[in-house]
């Protein structure tokens, strides 16, 4: 293997192993920042040695052993606190005593717990949402600072700063490396789900710039969701989130036209939907249903997405079921966005006037004041009612509010189509 090939191999191995490494090391040193440094130290050693010695048979175990040695070196040089020293000593002792015949599976189980702890600490509510997103992508997604910066169209030093500050915050607040229990667990888990879905949405519908899609970010979010679903398979909402993302991602190929313009859900060519992802999404919904619990917000949204996915043509959509799902969603997690979506579904069942009634009730909603989809939906309903002049004004307003250049073009076209002779 050439040195360049070995380097590429090492980087790929690090991507596969880094989250597990950092998780295991954090349990040892009780500090995410130090754990990541140790993992990267091990990577540097690998980059120095492997081009000469070749990649070891079990590179993950090699990296972990090397990082642990570094941790001990640091201890000897007194760069870790006395308290951590004791913890590590205890940890090492416990490991040596654990000579059970089923050592492999015991370690696997430990690893799963550590990964879950790492998920929870990366999405800790003490951190700002932006910091949670950056830390999750970095520690669990294995993305470099540069990759995160590119995905979010933010300068690299900004992301680097954000990550450094987040790690410092966790250290200073002495946030424990643990899986929360009881009531706290639900709140913390929903913070984790929110972070993953935020990453997905950042990729799914870029909030700024001309790229309608940044699918790589969606793939990262999906991967995080799939990992989480295996870490906590008994949580229906996790499967709900995975189902929602799988089904939404299935529409990638159909969401944009030949010149990159967005195509709305009901106008999409369903032959372009990715049946593999739909199948996976529906399977995730089945897993959640088998758990038999009541449906939370992600499961309800995923069920709506599944209604669209199951309809072979837009005309076959089960709108009555979608209305009842949005009614349920409005009951447990009411929000102006849910109302807006509900208005569309209601208009499909009971006509545009009924939908417009719900939309008009949202007119004074401060959180939707600069949300382009409100005037866009309203314009659509007005157009169906033949109130073209009002519809045009709404589409114009929507165009002025969107930050996506291609979406703006589309909205301006729809406005023009409402003009006399348009």
């Amino acid at each position: 293997m050439s040195p360049a090939d070995t380097h590429a191999a090492i980087n790929a191995i690090y991507r596969i192993e880094s989250a597990k490494l950092i998780a295991g090391l954090t349990r040892m040193v009780r500090d995410v920042g130090i754990a990541e440094e140790l993992a990267q130290d091990a990577l540097v050693v690998a980059l120095e040695r492997w081009p000469g010695t070749g990649v070891p048979d079990n590179p993950g175990a090699w990296l972990m052993a090397t990082a642990k040695h570094r941790a001990i070196d640091r201890l000897r040089r007194g760069r870790l606190s006395e308290e951590k020293h004791e913890e590590i000593g205890h940890e090492m002792g416990a490991r040596q005593q654990m000579a059970t015949p089923d050592l492999d599976s015991a370690i696997d189980e430990d690893m799963g717990d550590d990964m879950l702890r790492l998920v929870f600490i990366s999405c800790h509510p003490i951190l700002s949402t932006e910091a949670r997103v950056a830390l999750t992508l970095r520690l669990l997604g294995g993305l470099t600072t540069a990759e995160i910066a590119r995905a979010f169209l933010v300068p690299e030093p900004t992301i680097a700063q954000r990550i450094v500050r987040a790690k410092r915050t966790l250290t200073e607040a002495r946030v424990p490396f643990e899986v929360p229990r009881g009531e706290e667990r639900d709140a913390r888990l929903s913070s984790v789900l929110q972070v993953i879905y935020l990453i997905f949405n950042e990729g799914y519908s870029a909030t700024a710039g001309d790229d309608w899609l940044r699918p790589e970010l969606c793939e990262d979010a999906l991967r995080l969701g799939r990992i989480l679903a295996e870490l906590v398979p008994q949580e229906p909402e996790v499967h709900g989130l995975v189902a929602l993302m799988e089904i939404q991602a299935s529409r990638f190929g159909a969401r944009t036209g030949p010149s990159g313009e967005p195509i709305l859900l009901l106008d999409q060519d369903r032959g372009r939907w990715d049946q593999l992802l739909i199948h996976r999404g529906l399977a995730a919904l089945d897993r959640a249903a088998a758990l038999g619990a009541s449906r939370g917000p992600y499961l309800l949204q995923a069920s709506v997405a599944a209604c669209h996915a199951r309809a072979r043509t837009a005309g076959e959509t089960d709108w009555a079921r979608i209305v009842s799902l949005y009614d349920a969603l409005a009951g447990i997690a009411p929000s102006p966005i849910v109302e807006l979506n509900r208005s569309v579904a209601v208009s499909m069942v009971a006509g545009p006037a009924a939908g417009l009634e719900i939309v008009d009730a949202l007119a004074s909603e401060p959180s939707l004041k600069s949300y382009h989809l409100l005037p866009s939906v309203r314009g659509d309903l007005l157009k169906k009612l033949g109130r073209l002049e009002e519809a045009r004004a709404e589409f114009d307003r929507a165009a002025s509010l969107t930050r996506n250049a291609r979406e703006r073009e589309l909205l301006l076209e729809r406005a023009a189509a409402c003009s006399p002779g348009g």
């Binding site: 790929a12 596969i16 699918p215 999906l222 995080l224 799939r226 990992i227 190929g253 060519d269 996976r280």
Partner: protein, 140 residues
């Protein structure tokens, strides 16, 4: 990006002999690792080629040839679809698979965006769309 990992047939798979418990356990463990890492999208094992067939297209003629097929090493016996960040990552995952004495192939799957280069004006895609619409309207 997605990769298809293509596992080739051997004498046993062609004879319909199922892998022994040891291999099945090892493969099960490997699959579990892939699922836990969020890498595996799909994977299937294929039955012997004696249960399959080929359709040969030649000079406007279509000829059906029933299995089995002779060239065992060229036959596909199973596949995975993996979602990874790079070809290198797919290679590193494959190295962890419990295979012996075989060659396993990794191939990148086309994404929608990959077709843009050979269709810069979107004309081919438009024609394809029109065709789909025509087919749809005939169905009704």
């Amino acid at each position: 990006m997605r990769f298809m990992v293509i596992v080739k047939a051997n004498k046993d798979s062609e004879a319909g002999v199922l892998p022994d418990a040891k291999i099945l356990t090892a493969m099960g463990k490997f699959n579990e690792e892939l699922v836990k890492a969020g890498v595996m999208l799909a994977g299937e094992g294929l039955q012997a080629s004696s249960k399959g067939a080929r359709v040969r297209f030649s000079g406007g003629k279509k000829t059906v040839i029933d299995g089995p097929f002779a060239e065992t090493k060229e036959l596909v016996a199973g596949f995975w679809l993996w979602q990874v960040k790079s070809k290198q990552e797919a290679i590193e995952w494959l190295k962890r698979a419990p295979f012996e004495d075989t060659e396993v192939e990794i191939r990148q799957v086309f994404e929608t965006a990959d077709f843009a280069a050979s269709d810069p004006t979107g004309e081919i895609r438009k024609k394809e769309d029109d065709l789909r619409k025509t087919i749809e309207s005939r169905k009704r």
